[in-house]
């Protein structure tokens, strides 16, 4: 232990760093900024992935959609009975949903129809809805809206009800029965939940059609087989499994962070140039210092240890403070500016907190990509200088 940590040498390293204060502060700052940006991007990407992964398990296992001429078409409800005969399928639901463009605000609402408000639905709705009035819910024309929808409607003076415009131009008045809880904004911000019957009326959808069909398959190993059977049964359909969705999400988030990292390469190169500058040789001042140290009796190992301490202090302290600050920036300040890279622009943007996930794998990766590199770039040239004769170095 004593061989590796010498307090006097450590103190000497600190004062040596202080002597070349300007240069070292600059390196510290660059190092800090680099690791801070890199880790912030990884933290945001990880948090969004975490959020998606956690809600993904509640989705139906397979979604069946009808395609015609490369576009999605409404599917016949009669297919539900046929699908129910496939072994391993526990639940088949025809879905009625779509988008409603609200011209005044320029926003798209996602309208989802549920089959009348059955008791089981009511129970789950009660858990996720604020200001819930169960008596108003028994009436036919009621809806539950997301927080973002509610805000936009109120801005346009629709505080109690909303007039949907049907395909034939008539109005359909629907009363607001409740608002989804703020904590679920990331999932429910643009949602309007109505009874399926109302959705059909608003979209002009006939009773024998549905937007698509969802299936639940309790045994995950059977999902690919069921999907294959579905496509064989209905060649004009496509079956989207939950794992397909998961893969596509990960692609998108990786793509987003990838684009940023591609731009970030420039910054990374700046860092490498600094390291190259350091590694390509010590300044004459530093060489002379090493020569004098040798002349007064320092061993090579002492010189290397002192240089190692210097590099370690700069790289480790900047790494540690950058990670600490990145956590503060991402999870407490909600990553202003950088979050926009992932979220983009939208009129109905939900306010949300990123879930906290400390991914040690990423932190270790960043650590090994930067700190040892800097250590090596400091120690190797010092070693070259330290192995030379003292008079040769001083000269």
């Amino acid at each position: 232990m004593k061989r590796f940590f010498n307090i006097l040498l450590f103190e000497y390293a600190l004062s040596s760093l202080k002597r070349r204060g300007g240069k070292n502060i600059f390196i510290f700052f660059i190092f800090f900024l680099l690791i801070f940006l890199l880790s912030s991007i990884f933290f945001i990407a990880n948090s969004i992935k975490y959020e998606l992964r956690h809600t993904l398990k509640s989705l139906p296992d397979i979604t069946l959609q009808k395609l015609q001429a490369g576009r999605e078409q409404n599917i016949d409800i009669s297919r539900v009975d046929k699908i129910a005969t496939i072994e391993g399928v526990s639940e088949v639901t025809p879905r009625v949903w779509g988008y409603y463009y609200f011209k005044n605000a320029g926003a798209n609402f996602s309208i989802v129809g549920v089959d009348r408000f059955t008791p089981s639905y009511k129970k789950s709705i009660q858990k996720v809805v604020d200001k819930f009035d169960s008596t108003i819910f028994d009436k036919n024309d009621t809806m539950v809206v997301g927080a973002g929808v509610k805000k936009i409607l109120e801005k346009n003076y629709y505080s109690k009800y909303f007039n949907f415009i049907k395909p034939n131009g008539d109005f359909k008045r629907v009363y607001i029965a409740g608002t989804f809880k703020g904590t679920t904004a990331l999932e429910s911000n643009d949602i309007i939940l109505l009874s399926a019957q109302n959705v059909r009326e608003i979209f002009g959808l006939s009773e024998d059609k549905a937007t698509d069909i969802t299936l639940r398959v309790p045994n995950p190993k059977e999902i690919p087989t069921v999907a294959k059977k579905l496509i064989e049964m209905f060649p004009d359909c496509r079956a989207i499994t939950k794992s397909d969705l998961k893969i596509s999400y990960e692609n998108i988030i990786d793509y987003k962070s990838g684009i940023f990292l591609a731009i970030f390469i420039i910054a990374l190169f700046t860092f490498f140039i600094i390291i190259y500058d350091k590694a390509s040789g010590l300044s004459s001042d530093e060489k002379r210092e090493i020569g004098i140290q040798k002349a007064v009796g320092w061993k090579i190992s002492d010189i290397l240890l002192q240089k190692g301490y210097e590099a370690f202090i700069i790289s480790f302290v900047s790494f540690f403070s950058a990670i600490t600050f990145a956590i503060f920036y991402v999870y407490f300040l909600d990553a202003p500016m950088l979050k926009s890279i992932f979220t983009g622009y939208s009129i109905l943007k939900p306010p949300f907190k990123l879930p906290f996930v400390l991914d040690f794998q990423t932190i270790v990766l960043i650590f090994f990509a930067t700190v040892p590199l800097y250590l090596a770039a400091t120690i190797i040239p010092s070693w070259f200088a330290a192995t030379l004769e003292a008079d040769e170095v001083i000269r």
């Binding site: 004062s15 858990k127 904004a185 999932e187 643009d190």
Partner: protein, 102 residues
């Protein structure tokens, strides 16, 4: 102990305390996914409501699976949602000529 060492230890302990403090505060943050999962179960829409400007936005299944560059809400480079900034709010749907005529 020299002054340099004292300042160094002070700085490092400040950063450490800050790190431990924020990690603890964050781990105490409620991590309940029950309500979120219920909403997803009710609506069966998988996407987060981050970008809601295109028809295929709330369900990835309406764009190509796994494709990033074609009709993908968060990936495409020609759609408004890809950009970090919003379009100008002074842009008006009423053509310039009509405004000027008033």
């Amino acid at each position: 102990m020299s002054n340099n060492l004292r300042y160094f230890v002070l700085f490092l302990s400040f950063v450490t305390i800050f790190f431990i403090g924020e990690s603890m505060a964050l781990s105490f943050r409620a991590k309940s996914y029950e309500a979120k999962n219920l909403v997803v179960r009710l609506t069966t829409l998988p996407d987060l409501t981050l970008s809601t400007e295109a028809k295929y936005i709330r369900h990835r299944s309406l764009s190509d699976i796994g494709s990033v560059f074609s009709e993908d809400p968060e990936g495409i480079s020609y759609f408004a949602t890809t950009f970090v900034y919003a379009p100008s709010n002074v842009l008006n749907i009423i053509p310039n000529k009509i405004i000027k005529a008033k």
